[in-house]
Structures are given as structure tokens and as C-alpha cells.
Point group: D2
Chain length 174, copies 4
Amino acid sequence: MIKIIIGTNRANANSEKIALIYHDLLKTMGESAEIINLNALPDDFVFTALYEYNGKNEEFNRIHNRVREGKKYIFIVPEYNGSFPGILKSFIDGMTYPNSFQNKKCALVGISSGIGGGSIAMSHLTDIFNYLGMHVLAFKPRLAKIEENMSEDLLTNRLYMDLLKEQAQLFLEF
Amino acid sequence: MIKIIIGTNRANANSEKIALIYHDLLKTMGESAEIINLNALPDDFVFTALYEYNGKNEEFNRIHNRVREGKKYIFIVPEYNGSFPGILKSFIDGMTYPNSFQNKKCALVGISSGIGGGSIAMSHLTDIFNYLGMHVLAFKPRLAKIEENMSEDLLTNRLYMDLLKEQAQLFLEF
Amino acid sequence: MIKIIIGTNRANANSEKIALIYHDLLKTMGESAEIINLNALPDDFVFTALYEYNGKNEEFNRIHNRVREGKKYIFIVPEYNGSFPGILKSFIDGMTYPNSFQNKKCALVGISSGIGGGSIAMSHLTDIFNYLGMHVLAFKPRLAKIEENMSEDLLTNRLYMDLLKEQAQLFLEF
Amino acid sequence: MIKIIIGTNRANANSEKIALIYHDLLKTMGESAEIINLNALPDDFVFTALYEYNGKNEEFNRIHNRVREGKKYIFIVPEYNGSFPGILKSFIDGMTYPNSFQNKKCALVGISSGIGGGSIAMSHLTDIFNYLGMHVLAFKPRLAKIEENMSEDLLTNRLYMDLLKEQAQLFLEF
């Protein structure tokens, strides 16, 4: 079962909508998936689940365990301040040893309000995931100007849907 | 007055010790500095100072204001999981518009337990700071294997002290 | 005198046109500049000016000397294959010690046919220039979809001209 | 058959020695490999095989074809000036469409005289290969201070040999 990680804790984020779209897309391909929203992390986990508290915050552990049991991940990565959201890195900083991503595989989807499409965000994440021993699918769609390309909870840009489909197909074979 | 930012919230971090050493170093050069420790951020700021709460967490604002009033910054950047700590990015994600670093200048010091010296961490931060319009001093010391090169709260590796001095000198002229 | 470096050896490159536009822009601001085109490098310099031939190719040296005598540089950086052109890095690999960019300053302009605007290319170059001790202006315009935004040798997108003007102004004060 | 690419054209490069060591290592694992040395590229290919000359330099094409027929690659990547050698990028810039690396897989080995081990070089290359659609093995050994860890043509640092073996094992399963 593929884990789809929403890479932000922003409420009602576009990333959440894309995660749902991706979930449905995988379903039509006969693949089951589970969405994990960083929004569900305990509010103070950056101070209560890291360093000397590593592994000791039960609420953090519950979500961490759901992540850890996966083998394949899709990260929906919004661009904030020229990179990915800090909370995603803090979640990684709270993982216990051996890290939850070692020898696993992931795919990245970049999202941005501006024209970048999260390319730098995904480059940074690739560095980190590779450092942790997780292989990253080469194909990383960049969904730029996301607000202009969504209506309600749907992607109105057919190209963007095609990019997700192409990625999903490649990821199932990865 | 230079602001020295400790780029982690880990208690008793080596980054804090390096910040104190840098503070003293600047003093001997006739320059005053103030240390700002991300450890002082409110525990839940990632959920109570970002997005719809942007600018509304008074405790966050107090620290943010101390950062914002600066013109020059030195960031002590420990390497966690192949990049810099997530909390530093979350702090940036909580800044209000216009961002606090626009048209300002900073210097970076990388720290690591391993051999990397935080070079990737500093590369990622440089991308982000440049995106925000802050100029980054080219010279970025990498203090690798930091535990082996400190004793009590002192840097025992003379080369490392020389690197900090060289950086401080360049930064004052930057 | 500012040196404007055309970061490719492609004949009649858009980068060359942008270099000329930037040259004229600086002129209107009362600043003189010189354009250096990597196209003028000797065809075989990658094999006759590096390593054991470092400093021994007179034709390479002539261009290298023109670069070396500068204090401030503007690099026009087209995106090729997700980064900047290899020839620009080979030129750097051919520089003699101490490197020609130590303690100098530069500004980068990214150009792309696609939507990226060369952001990854400029990130990579920033890493390299910082490694060499050259400070990079934070503001790095990304001129995406360049073919659609030029006509003859002119930038038809007013925003793009404004970005170059803003950068030039910032660079003169840098 | 795995293609081992020596990522520089320097004569008698350490990268060449590491390529031979890797070749032998793969042999002991029952895997055949072929070494391709960028040193064999025509001296002037940066001017005679790119852009309007794309695909028209027969000497370049011969080497390009040997690369293109591969499915899996190991790149030996020396760190030059804070990144990988320019010639490797120029080789990529000379590839014809569709690019030779699309949907293929590679592993990277970083080499440096200094302490970095080529981590930034490999980060840059990963960006480029991912852009071209080639998957990169997460595990990327960094062979720092290479001169101190070789004697004649052998790696004297047992850890370095172990890293190469671990990578080879992972790559065969990738």
C-alpha cells in the first residue's frame, strides 16, 4: 500500500486536494493508498518528539509508525519560501533510528503558486531522501501556478493530470 | 549589531556553544552581537504562528521582531539528516510579509558530527535566503566531526578558530 | 568595469542577445561593461588548457585574463539539460590558481525555453561561485519561455526588462 | 552490461583507477562491465558536436553510442571547483534527442582531494540525471582525501572498499 504524504500542515491545503486526486488516480489503476497528513502531528512535536524526546511522544509515534510501515511513498510538496515546508523536515528530524526511509522508494510532486513548480524544493528533498537511503523517482511533476489550474477540488489543467498519471505509472514499475 | 542565530532548538546544542564562541570572537574585534536561540520559540509555533495564524502568536512575534530588526546575521547551522534543522525553515515559514531578510546580509557556519561539515545544509539555506533576497557571504566554514574538535565549550581545533576569524573579518567588510 | 559573461558557446544564442540588452541597460545607468563570449574560447581548450596544460594555452589565457581582471560579473546563464552549460564549468576548471573569482562579486540571470527559468542552473552556479569565494547577488531573475518573450533581439516582456533593471540597480550597490 | 563512466578527461586520473577497481569488483560479483573514459572524446567536441552540430561529429557519436546502448551506469565523479567536471556536462549537452539516459538507472561515486567527498558534485549531477529521467541510486559513497587513501592503483582504506561493495550490491538489485 502506497503512502501519500501531504508535506504541509496548512489547513485545507492544495496539497491535500492533490493528495486526494492522486489517491483516486491510484485507485483507478487498481492500487490502494493511504493519505497521511502532517496536519495531524501533535502541535508541539518539534519540541516534544526530537532529540532527548526522540521516540517518546506517543501521538507522534502513532503517525510515525504509519509512515514507517510503508515501502513506497508519494510526497506532495508545496513550495514555501523557495523550498519545502519546514514541518516536513522536522518530521524527518523526529524519526527514530534506523530511519524510516532506508532502502525504500518515493515519488515527489511539486506544487507552487508561482512559476517555479517547486523544482528547488524537490531538489532539496531529493538530497535529504538520498542521504537517508531512499530512492527517488526521477520524474517529478511541477504543478506551477496551482491556483490557476484548479477549480474546487479538481485539477482543471489536463496536462497536470497527465503528468500525475505518467508519474503513477512509472512509480508502480519503480 | 549582528544577530547570531542558533539554527536548532536542541537543548545544549554544539551550535549554541559555537554561537557563544562567535559572539566572543566578534567582541574581540570590537563588534557587538546578540544571540537568538530558536529554542526560545513557543513549542507549538509550527501550528500557531503560520498560515491563518501568521503574525498572531505574540510569543513568536517577540522573537521574530528581534530577528527582523537585524541587518546582518550569522547562522550556526548543524547538519541534521543531510540538511539543516526543520525548525529553522519553519521559523522562516512563519515570518510575515515583507520577509524579514529582504536586502540583508548573512554568513553561514556549518557543523556536523560526520565528515560533511554541513555543506549540503548550507547549500539549501543559501537557495532559500537568496530566494528571500538576502545575500550570503561566499565563505562558509564547515566544522566537521565537531565532537572530536571541541572540549568542554571550546573549539580545540585551531584551524576551526582560524576559519571563524577569517569569516568574521570577511563578513564585517561584506 | 563590469564583465558580462555569456555562459554558452552556442552561436547566436539568446544569452548573447540578453548580454547586449544588459550592456545597453548598464550604459543608460552610466556604467560601462564588457561582454565576454565563451564562444571565443579555443575549440579544444577542454583538452589543451586544463590539468597538466593549465595556464599553457595562450589563446585560452587571453580570454581568461580578460575575465580575471574584472571585479564584478554578470553571468547570463541558459538552462541546458536541467543545469547550466558544461562549457562554463570547463572554463572555470581551466582557471589558474589562485582562482579568478576569489573575493569578487557577481549577479546571475537565468534563461530557459521551458518554464524553469534556470533556477536549478543558478543554484548550482551559486554553489560553485561560493566555493570559489565569489559573492552572488541574491536577486536572480528567471527569464522563462524566453523565445515567447523576445522578438528579434529585443525583450518584449516588460516584466523581464523590469527584472533586469531591478537587478542592475541592486548589483551596482552590492 | 554496466557502463562505468570516468567523469573527467584528466590523464591518469584517480577516477580512472577507481573505475578499474570498480570493474574488478563487479567481475568478482559475476557482473560484466565496460569502462568509458571521457578522455577519449574528440578534443574539440564542445564546439563540433553540440547545437547545430548535434549528432554530426562521428568520433563523438561513436562514444555516445557506447553510452547510449547501456541501461545501467556507474559514474565516477571527481570534485573539481566544488562540483563535477565541466566536460561531463558538456558530454550530456552533446547527447541527441531523446536523451540517452531516459528511464535508465545509475549509481554515483564521489571523489575528492579535500574533505567534501564530492557531495555537492553528486547533488548537482542527481538534479541533472533526474531531469533527464534517469533514476539515481540513493547510496552515493564519498571517497574524501583520496590521495591519502590510495597507494599505487589500490584503495588502501578498507572502509572505502566496503562502501563500493555495498553500493555495487545495492545497484545490482536497483
